[in-house]
Symmetry: C2
Subunit: 245 residues, 2 copies
DNA sequence: CGACTACTTGACAAGGATCAAAGTTGGTGG
DNA sequence: CCACCAACTTTGATCCTTGTCAAGTAGTCG
């Protein structure tokens, strides 16, 4: 049962940064991550997933946990009528496939040619049994995943399109920041359709909303896939519902 | 970082039922739960929470994990502008407060006078360190919580009011079933406002939708707080998006 | 260069939100 | 036991946002 890109670390050194564990803003902790316990991760077992190919699908036996070495993935679930809910995106360094269910709860599709490193579940679980710190790391990774899911819920629960799109941009920015990248420029590795299905709106609304945000000077659209977040504070205010469009 | 009512069990005997781990329907596994490891749970440390009182609030230090002995709780988070997202409801037998963050990520408010039994986090974590089965149980409890959150996301992502309300009713029915209660009669321990904030719609829409479902013979409203789910199969079809209002 | 795909924009309609009011329910005190 | 009150729920009317359908534009790949 799992989906999120989280680090599997010992947790012993977590939260030494100044960021409080429960930050005041809804998005502050999103995707906060601690360094991986690298020695636990195999350097073999790499897999290359072609553009738009699936690493696994909903219902597949859960055999491995994967770390994204390069590229990006989209984690989604389908409704019977074909509608799709994007649960999350996984970028370089993220770990996906955690969880105890015997089958994957989401499908994982590459947004571009993507390289992952797989760690067999059995290996991970055996390690967790003998090493308390790994067990703690797993527990904390899942905990963070739950918080992320909660914040996604906050985003989808009665909120307007502008707030949703702003939230999405802020999330990407924060994840950039967590990986040491610029936080004011986000590269959209996913299509408008992926964004729409993540936010529970249509691609037309995504497009219109981006245009509107640009019109108000909150963002600049450098390329289709590259946005500059001018006025981050306004975006955050929008995302948190403190301000109207 | 945690919210959900899940059992903390050894996990060793899980999934012996005929229910596949990854069921075909989106809602099938929701709230599936295994028997608790009762001997791990203290019989002391009980607390009575008055009607509408809070067991804890978002941001409080996370000191205990609680099991609901009697009554029901509403777990929610607030947006800055006062809007509220109900993350989940906790009923008798559910465990809430799991997660590794040092502070609660949700507020827990009693829907009625509620009795809980608290287990100090430190005790639980110490037990998990020495007992692998408890550690596994925690891991599985969080995993299930993530699946529940994902299904909640599916419910809130682009779906109509009727589908949301149907989903809610099916969830309550399944949770009844899991606790050995009748699955065709659900008792709403929460207000319309709580339901609305759980589903991301307004109380008026909840009310209208229930009336509409009654008009189509999918439910009967015996009292305000008691619904009979006639035609469960249609409700499930609605919840899964296989059918229109 | 042309065909294909993805994105943007426009016009219109549908579904919910909002505002307003009437109807229920449950609790309190006479 | 009943009457009244406050809180909650239902219903109605209208407005607004977003979804839908359709057309046009831009970017990509052969």
């Amino acid at each position: 049962m799992l989906t999120r890109h989280q680090s599997v670390d010992s947790g012993a050194a977590r939260n030494q940064s100044s960021t409080p564990d429960h930050a005041t803003t809804a998005l502050a902790r999103t995707h906060a991550r601690a360094p991986l316990v690298e020695q636990e991760w195999p350097t073999s077992n790499w897999r290359l997933i072609a553009d738009k190919a699936h690493l696994y699908s909903e219902g597949d036996p859960r055999t491995h946990v994967y770390k994204v070495m390069h590229g990006a993935l989209c984690l989604y679930r389908l409704l019977e009528d074909g509608r799709r809910q994007v649960i999350d995106f996984a970028f370089e360094g993220d770990v996906i496939g955690l969880g105890s269910g015997r089958q994957e709860s989401c499908s994982a599709q590459a947004l571009t040619a993507t390289q992952v490193s797989g760690l067999p579940m059995a290996t991970l679980m055996a390690a967790a049994k003998t090493n308390t710190r790994i067990a703690e790391g797993l527990y904390e990774a899942l905990s963070r995943e739950i918080v992320v899911a909660q914040e996604h819920l906050m985003c989808l629960g009665h909120r307007g399109a502008a707030e949703r799109v702003a939230t999405f941009l802020v999330i990407l920015s924060r994840r950039n920041e967590a990986r040491g990248l610029a936080c004011d420029v986000v590269t959209l590795q996913m299509s408008r359709s992926d964004i729409a299905d993540f936010l529970g709106i249509t691609i037309e609304t995504v497009s219109r909303t981006l245009t509107k945000l640009r019109g108000q000077g909150l963002i600049e659209i450098e390329q289709i896939t590259t946005l500059r977040l001018t006025r981050m504070s306004k975006l955050v205010a929008l995302a948190e519902g403190r301000v109207r469009v």
